[in-house]
């Protein structure tokens, strides 16, 4: 197990992620939760904490918590309790947040992913349901702040890890994996610009073998790039402090993307005494085995399970299986291609290679993939059966991507059919050997590069259409 040290220090990171759930209505009220509405048009009496209002729990939020728990191999608590977290802030209308404290709905579980070919596992402590706060708008008003409570009451799952991560790379990889999971199973839309997926990173450093260092919490990281930058800066900052003889004070910090630095926040309240107690307006949440079984049976195949199946049934390496199950669409696509052409590894290569490159370059998602699975399967088949060389295959792919059409038509119209006819090839090979006596001599003298030159000559003579493998074989036979 490799641990990357920074200036001799071990980095210890834990994450708390707030994922907004993709329900229709809020967690405790029936107001809608669509992003971008006019201020306070999606804040009903309950959300505004008007006198006399009371919370009523949204079944959809609980279902999504169960789905996450099942996905991560967690324990779903048969009984969990909602508690009030009491503090004052203008975006918190009741003066308390309804959350879960001692007994959360999801307990334990883990998230696994690959970091540079090495498999990592981050353990979860818990995931609990709670309500989101509203928003403060500082810019538009002089000396005042505008409060929009549309977001107040949006259901959140707060997902808390053990401090298992040891580098910013690992932390970002974890965050990306979690992001993939919650979008895959459909409980969160994952839109980080809109605030659907926000991470807080708890960062500390220590000399290897020493006690845990004091941690500082970097709040509200809503892009993977910022996560990386923020953690890297924070780590270097903490190390500098320690090296200067300064002790690290526990603090909440914000990352400033403009300066690339983290900076401690003014404390909202001294020593944050939240005075948690069970919310008397909400009886305990009971989840029975039948409900869990029903949710389990209705869920899409989980990425973990699918990846294991790809390894088992298609003989894919673990790494490939993990990459292909990055998104639901990609995994389904892969399987369709693999089934149609029976070439799982080649399908994997094409998807992870050429297709992904093109998607990324054009900032497209897999849902926008212009090439049907059957089409790619056919392309792979044509390469396997010798009709196309690999290079020609890439040209066909280009054409398919830009113009559409079908594989066989493009092969013909672009004259890409590979020359397989042994007889015709032999003729060309003989001609090349005959007219390249120097190369042949060099080859016999032991210079291996000369062989490639001869292959090149044959390819040129055949205008690139010769089947390179056959050319290789023929040359070897004739020159031996």
């Amino acid at each position: 197990m490799s641990t990357k040290l920074v200036q001799g220090y071990e980095v210890v990171i834990g994450f708390e992620t707030h994922a907004q759930l993709s329900t229709q209505s809020k967690i405790f009220s029936r107001a809608p939760i669509a992003f971008g509405a006019e201020p306070n048009t999606q804040a009903c009496a309950v959300d505004l904490a008007l006198p006399g209002t009371l919370p009523v729990m949204n079944k959809g939020a609980v279902e999504r918590a169960i789905q996450l728990g099942l996905t991560l191999g967690s324990h779903i608590a048969p009984k969990s309790i909602f508690a009030r977290k009491n503090y004052f802030y203008p975006d918190l209308p009741k003066g308390y947040q309804i959350s879960q404290f001692e007994i959360p709905v999801v307990q334990g579980g883990e998230v696994s992913f690959f970091l540079n070919d090495e498999k990592k596992t981050v353990r979860l402590v818990r995931a609990h349901l709670e309500e989101d706060a509203g928003k403060s708008l500082h810019e538009d008003f002089v000396g005042m702040t505008g409060i929009d409570l549309n977001r107040a009451g949006t259901p959140l799952l707060e997902i808390v890890t053990e401090p298992d991560m040891r580098s910013s790379d690992e932390a970002v990889a974890y965050a990306k994996e979690l992001h993939k999971i919650v979008t895959w199973i459909g409980i969160c839309d994952g839109n980080m610009q809109e605030g659907s997926f926000r991470c807080d990173a708890n960062v500390s450093v220590r000399k290897p073998g020493a006690e845990m260092g004091t941690r500082r919490e970097i709040k509200n990281l809503n892009s993977f790039k910022f996560m990386q930058q923020a953690i890297d800066f924070e780590v270097r900052w903490q190390i500098d402090q320690i090296e200067d003889g300064q002790a690290i004070q526990q603090a909440t910090v914000l990352f400033d993307p403009d300066t690339g630095e983290t900076r401690a926040m003014r404390t909202k309240e001294d020593a944050a005494d939240y005075r948690y107690f069970p919310d008397p307006d909400l009886p305990p949440l009971v989840i029975d085995e039948e409900w869990i079984a029903r949710v389990r049976s209705e869920m899409r195949e989980l990425p973990r399970v699918m990846a294991e199946r790809f390894v088992r049934d298609y003989g894919l390496p673990e790494y490939d299986a993990a990459m292909l199950t990055q998104s639901q669409q990609m995994a389904v696509y892969f399987e369709a291609v693999a089934k149609a052409c029976s070439q799982a590894k080649l399908a994997s290569n094409w998807i992870m290679g050429d297709l992904s490159r093109r998607l990324n370059a054009q900032e497209m998602t897999f849902e926008q993939m212009p090439i049907k699975a059957a089409t790619l399967a056919l392309l792979i088949t044509r390469i396997q059966d010798g009709t196309l060389s690999n290079n020609a295959g890439k040209q066909v792919l280009d054409a398919l991507w830009v113009e559409g059409g079908d594989v066989d038509t493009i092969i013909v119209s672009k004259g890409l059919k590979q020359m397989n006819d042994t007889g015709a090839l032999e003729t060309i090979v003989d001609e090349v050997i005959a007219s390249n006596a120097d190369n042949v001599a060099q080859l016999r003298a032991g210079k291996e590069k000369a062989f490639n030159a001869l292959v090149g000559q044959v390819m040129k003579a055949s205008k690139g259409k010769a089947n390179p493998q056959k050319v290789n074989d023929l040359l070897k036979i004739k020159l031996s």
């Binding site: 999606q42 609980v62 409060i147 001294d270 005494d273």
Partner: protein, 99 residues
């Protein structure tokens, strides 16, 4: 259990109240008077007793009812904001929040 003036300060701050000197003193006396009553609680043996957050649990254990995930609240911003101290362009205004 006796509260000292620092306790009163701390609690008042937590609860976002500001008591002047005489209010604080009077408050402290009255609260300590109340806590004299509370001492009798400490002698009661509650070993193995579950706390009772929901009063009718002895009749029937209450569990959380779950409603269907439907957004049925219409936009009623005007009515909901009619008792608001300061509103502009639909936003509640407060003295500037410094983070």
């Amino acid at each position: 259990m006796s509260l000292n003036p620092q306790d009163i300060q701390r609690i008042a701050n937590l609860a976002r109240l500001s008591l002047d000197e005489s209010q604080s003193t009077r408050m402290r006396e009255q609260i300590n008077g109340f806590f004299d009553l509370v001492t009798q609680m400490q002698d009661v043996n509650t070993e193995g007793i579950e706390p009772m957050s929901h009063p009718v649990d002895l009749m029937q254990l209450q569990t959380l009812r779950l409603r269907d995930d439907v957004a049925s609240e219409p936009n009623q911003r005007e009515t909901n904001q009619r008792s608001a101290p300061a509103v502009e362009r639909g936003l509640f205004l407060v003295p500037k929040v410094i983070e």
